[in-house]
């Protein structure tokens, strides 16, 4: 199969496992990483870098029952590393701004991830992985490298705090 010989070529086939993984998770991964950074350009880069590793190691990663588990963990670590490196760069003058939807599409998933980003990063990640995606609490603990107790606590507290954020955000009511 051409995919794992020398180079990868998109097949355009939605059933192709790698392309299916990319279609299913590339956008979700961006929304997930938004909980840690408001720099969408950086997020885009990290997501592509993570998928590049997945592609290079596809024979191994495709064996996983849920390759998504590895994806979210690897992307999170990559982003942290990039943020750490940037923290060592010379600071530049900037005035903090409200993040903007880079897609200009008023897309619901982006808008909600912007709201999730108002929570502490780890709490937002727990909510995203356990409530937006379908990872179990134990899986979330494994992906994030935290205790099950923390996942359960953050899940409970996070939902409460997110509800408050939603109320403050004054989202349009259904049918409005």
């Amino acid at each position: 199969m051409a995919r794992h010989s020398l180079t990868y070529q998109p097949t355009g086939d939605p059933a192709d496992p790698f392309e299916a993984l990319y279609r299913s998770h590339s956008h979700r991964l961006k929304c997930y990483l938004r909980t840690r950074s408001s720099n969408w350009h950086l997020i885009e880069e990290v997501v592509q870098d993570t998928f590049l590793v997945a592609l290079a190691k596809w024979p191994q990663i495709r064996q996983y029952e849920k390759p998504g588990g590895w994806l979210y963990k690897a992307a999170d670590l990559k982003l942290k590393e990039r943020l750490r490196r940037e923290a060592h760069c010379e600071p530049r003058a900037e005035i903090r701004a409200e993040p903007v939807d880079p897609y200009g599409t008023a897309d619901a998933s982006v808008a909600i991830s912007e709201l999730l980003a108002q929570l502490p990063p780890r709490m937002a990640q727990v909510l995203y992985l356990s409530c937006s995606l379908d990872f179990t609490s134990k899986e979330v603990a494994q992906i994030l490298g935290i205790t099950l107790n923390t996942v359960n606590t953050y899940r409970r507290d996070g939902r409460r705090r997110f509800r408050e954020i939603l109320e403050r955000a004054d989202l349009p009511k259904r049918g409005a």
């Binding site: 600071p91 003058a93 780890r122 995203y128 205790t147 939603l166």
Partner: protein
Amino acid sequence: MDIDEILRLAATPPATAWHDAQVRKGLRQLEQRHRELRRSGRDPAEGVELADPLRDTDDEAARIARQAELAGLGTFTWTAKTNLLSWSNRLARMLGFGPEVTTPSVPLCLERVHYQDRELLTHQLEQAWRTASTTEVQHRIVRDGDEILHLHTFVEVLLDDADTPVGLVGTAQDVTELVRNQQELARVNKRLETIISTVGESLADYDPHTGLLSRRRFVSELDRAVDHGPGIVLLLGLAGLGEVNRAQGPEGGDRLVEQVATALKRVIDAPGRLLARVGGTEFAVLIPGVSMDGGAAIAADLLDVVHTRYLSAGRQRLDGRVGLVEYGQGRPESGEDLLIDADLALYEAKDTGKDLASGVLYASRRARRAQWRERVEQAIRLDRFELHAQPLLDLATNRVTRHELLLRLTEGNELVTPSSFLPTAERLGLIGEIDRYVVGQAAELLATTPADLHLQINISGGSVGDERFASFIEERLDHYAVDPARLTFELTETALIGNVTAAREFADRLRALGCQLALDDFGSGYASLTYLRSLPFDVVKIDGELVKNLTSNKGDQVIVESIARMCAELGVRTVAECVEEAGALERLRGYRVDFAQGWAVGREIPVRDLFGTQKAASRRARHRTA
């Protein structure tokens, strides 16, 4: 919609063709990068943990410690039953302990915590233990005597199978660089705000070209002077500068104005006398304790100075007119009113062809207003207003995609700049008629020009506060069937002062209509940032004084780049005004400024020359819409 539904939406990719295209593009990019990596032999997975985290069978503490190590974090574990603490080598190094310390302990750890943070950290740990919850705390570590490190510590409670707390596990990240950068960032931002305020203050009080007082400052000085006895106010208007500007560029006009200012200073130089530049071609003089006769003599001296200047190559002399008024005749006059009266006198001088006209002091605001209304109406009726267009270059595409409409007033053979007449029109409540005139002309123009032409027009504070003005705009655009997205309204900070609520309503209405809004002269005032945060601007125009010397002034470079970055973060597009050097264009492009405007891009041209005769265009439009 319940919270679970909303959270699930966060993981629902948009079902749009645009999203599909993004996915395809992403896959193509991966293909290309993968091919390049194969060719170069580099391994993108180097240093990346590839194990499946979901198959991890370690106990919690071991798993957390291992993952933290991978992420470059220090870890510790404390067991309640034994009160034993263990830490990773990385954490030991963070705390400044060498290999000789073989028995970690809680007191040993706390000893290294900065004394001001110790209580907070202890409290957080105790609370986490008591409530079996998780806590995060940022604190300082003091090691090797005086070295301070900032750590971010994340502490979790370990539970046994019966959910009883049995210990703590913590990860610590060295965030010293991050904290230092944040502190430095705060300092730089503070400095930036100070610079902007300082620049704004000096611009507000002094004319940057001549160093003379500004109109604002002059009026304020005049207010004080009228309380201390009689005197005179002279307003000197120069004629012929337009030709210099056309022939030599704005630098030529600026040079001549600077020369005249220097010469006028010598005539006026005496204690108590003040000289100001109150408009592009107008100077005002305050002389206390002098009568009208004395004032006329000084006016003659001033005109002599003007007449000795040549417009170009010694062929034609600079010309001028003077309006003169006396104050302190028993009536309380404000500085602004006096200046308006002097302006009316100057207008009379121009109209009658005299060098000097002595004005009357209008007894009431109503009388002044009537006089000025006649002037404005006459200007509209006699086509004395003229619209000029100056191009805006889209720096990303290097194409002119917009024009700003600039209003000029023709009096005699002279083009008068707006700074000479708009402040008075605004003060007397006549600005609305001028704004309506401009909007009407712009709408007509858009109706008669190609659909890709975009115009930017200036709106005064008076119109922003006029509830009927937005309706007028809507009606005009509708009348000419013009796409509102082709029009941007520029508002200055001055127009917004005291008007924010009205401005908000105005802005909302215009944006609902589809028009765009620009914040003009950004960086020239005190509160630009406040307005940028509180009003929905689409465009910010960076004040020309910050741009003019961009290639040589390091301070301006820092400010302009920062404004551009800030606006990009806010999703607001930027225009650099007064771009006069070709070298500045590349720099602005590097700063990701969106548009450039100024002589390096293109001069202002009468609309009739650029788009065909304005009147003819208007007639065509009327014919089409009839």
